[in-house]
C-alpha cells in the first residue's frame, strides 16, 4: 500500500488545500495518473499517483491540511 500525504512544496510551506479529486474513490490508477489538485500559498499543482493500484480517498475537497497529512492510499491488486 502506498500512502499519499500532503507534500511539502517549499521551505516555508506548512499546509496545503486539497482543491479537488481527479479520480473517483475506488478507481484504479496507473503510476503518474492525475490524482488531486493541491494549492498552497505559493503554488497550485496537480499531484500524480505515486504508484499503480486502487485509490481510497481520505481527504475532503476544500479542506486545508497540514503537510504530512494522509489524504489517500493506493493499494496494489493483482490483475
Amino acid at each position: 500500500m502506498t500512502e499519499v500525504r500532503i507534500p511539502k512544496t517549499g521551505d516555508a510551506v506548512e499546509e496545503g488545500t486539497l482543491v479537488e479529486w481527479l479520480v473517483e474513490d475506488g478507481a484504479r490508477v496507473e503510476r503518474g495518473d492525475p490524482l488531486y489538485l493541491l494549492e498552497t500559498d505559493k503554488v497550485a499543482m496537480q499531484i500524480e499517483a505515486p504508484s499503480a493500484g486502487v485509490v481510497a480517498r481520505i481527504g475532503v475537497p476544500g479542506e486545508i491540511y497540514p503537510v504530512g497529512e494522509l489524504v489517500a492510499t493506493i493499494t496494489e491488486r493483482p490483475g
Partner: protein
Amino acid sequence: MNEEMRTEPEASSALLRRFYETARTIREFDDRMRRGLASGEFMMSYWPVEGQEAISTGVCAALEPDDRMVITYRCAADAIAKGVDLGELAGELLGKSTGTSGGRGGAMGISAPDIGLLATTGIVGAGAPIATGVALAARQLGSGRVTVVSFGDGATSIGAVHEAMNLASLWQLPLVFLCHNNLFGEGTPVAEYTRTERFSDRAAGYGMPGVTVDGTDPVAVHKAAKEAVARARRGGGPTFLEAIAFRLNGHYFGDPCTYVDAAKLEAARGNEPIAKLRNRLVSGGVTAADLDALDQRIADDVDRAVSSAVAADMPAPETLYAHVYGGTDRFGAVSEGKRIATSVSAGAESELSLAQAVNQALEQAMARDDRVVLLGEDIADPMGGLFTCTKGLSTRFGRDRVRATPIAEEAIVGCAIGAALDGLRPVAELMFVDFLGVCLDQLANHAAKLRFMTGGRVHVPITLRSVEGAHSGPQHSQALEAWLTHVPGLKVAVASTPRDAKGLLTTCIEDDDPCVFIEPMQLLLARTMRGLVPDGEIRIPLGLADVKRDGKDVTVVSWGAVVHAALQAAAEVASEGIEVEVVDLRSLVPLDLETVLASVGKTRCLVIAHSATTFSGFGAEIAALVSERCFGELKAPVSRVGAAFTPVPRAHSLVAAHSPGAPQIAAAVRQVCR
C-alpha cells in the same frame, strides 16, 4: 562526432549504451525523488536534475575513477555519473545515518572521496575556489588527477567563480570549470541577469579556452570534456566548458515556475536527452526490448536503493557533536579536562620579534613536512609579506610552495581549503583580519563545516594567518575574533608574545581542523615586544591559557595585544597593594575555561579586557560562562573592558576615546575589588 565513434564503431555503440545507462539511472533516481516528494513520503530540500542528465554523463565518462569533483546542491546527476552509491545518495538526501555524510549534509553535503567526489556546496559558486585547491594538491603531489568543478549558469555572476578562473589559469591548474547552463538562475532567465551571450566567452578574459556544447547530447559533451580533461592532465591548464540543457523541472520541488515560458518548456521536453539517446541507440540496431529490459533493471536498482535508505535509521541524537572537530565526539569549544602540556625541544633560545617567530615556525614546519604550502598576497620574496613574516621562505623552498597569489581572498582561502581536502597542509595569509568579510563564506561555510557536513569523510587542515591592525583607521584596525568564535568548526588563536606565536602557529599548522591564527600588528615588529623563543621546536596546545602574571586579588582575562596593557595595569595597581593575575587565553576556541575558573576561584574578581568592542565581544561569552559556573563566589559583578561600539577611528584623539588601554583596565580592577 566523437573520435572513438568514427574509428571504432563497436566501441562507440558500447559507449552510447553506457551513456544511456548512466543517464537513465539519473532520470530514474530523480523521478523517484520527485515522486516521493509529491506523495508526501519525503520531506526535504531537493533540486531536480531532469533535462541535465547528459551533461554529467558525458563529463564523467571522460574522467578516471580517481579524478576529483566538487559539485553543487543540484547534486544527483553529477554524483550518480561519478559513481556514488545510489543508496548512500538517497540516504543523505533523506537525512539517514547510511547517507554519504551520515545525514549531516543533505543535498548540499554529498561527499564520497572514495570515488573522487570530494565536496558539495549549497553556496552558489563557492565550489570553484575550493576546486582550485584540489587541483593544486594534484599538481603539488604529482598525482596526475584532474578536477572538475560543476556549477550552474547563475553562478557565473558571482565573484568566487571569477577569482577561481583567474587563479586556475594563472597557475595552469589541472581543472575543468563545468557550467551546467540550464537557462535559469533559480527564477531568473539568463537574459535577465547578464548581457553575456555565451558564458564560455568569459574564459578568454582569463586566458583559458572556453567551449559551449549541446548539453542534451552526451556525445558532444563527452568529446569536449575529453579534450578539456586531456589538456588539464598534460599540464595545459584549465578549460571552461559550458553545456546547455533546459531545466525541465522547477528550481526546487514545488517551484510554481511562473517565470518559465510554457512554449519553450514544451519544446525542450520534445528535445530531452534520454529519448534522443534511446532513438539513437535504436537506429544503431539496439532493440527496444533490450532497452526496456535495461530500463527495468535500472528501475529495480533505484527502487532497492531508495527503499534501503527509507528503511535506514536516522543518526542518533547523541552523535550530534561528532565531526565538528577531529578527535572528539563532544563539545569541542571548551578544552576542560583535555589539557596537554606545551612541548619544547631542548636547546638555545634567541630574542626574536613576533614576525621573526612566525617566520621561524613557518620555516620549520615547511622543512619538516613537504605538504605545508603557503598562499597569500605578496608573500614571496623579495617582499616576503607585508610584515616580512614569510621573508626568505620562497627563496629557500621555492615558489611552488610559497605561492604569491592575486588579490583574491575568496580564491586564497578556497584554494587552501581544497588543497587541504586532498592532502596538503596549507597556510594562507589574510593580510588584515578586516578582509575576513571578503572570504568569510569560504571560511565559515566551507572550512568550518566540511568535516561536519561530510560526516567526517573529509577534513580541512588549513591555517589562516591574519594581522589585527592598530591605528590604521576603520577598515584596517578591527578586532574581529567574535566573528570567528561564533562558528562551530573553527579554532581561533591569538598570540601575545613571540614565543607563544611560534608555539601556537606550529600547533595550528599540525592541527587537523581549520585554525585562524591572529597576529596583532603592534607586536609584530616592535623592538620592545621582542622576546626569547626556543630555536628548536615548540608546540603550545590550543586550549591552554597562560598565566602571564600571578596575583591573588583580581583576575584579568585577556588575549593578544591587550595582554600587554593588562600587564601594565597590573604593575600600576601593584603599587596600590592590588595583586592582579593576568590570564592570557592564547586560544579562544578551544577555550581553557579551567584556567579561568581556577584563577577566579582564587581571586573571586574578574575583569575581561580585549581590543574588540565590549558589546557582543568574546568577553561576553567568558563573563557568561564564569557567571554560570561560579556566580556565588564572585565578590563583584564581572567587568568588561573593550572598545566603544563605534568603528575604529583614524584620529589619535578619537582612538584614545575608543580603544581600551592600561588606564581603563586599572580603573576596572580598582572598581571590582573596591
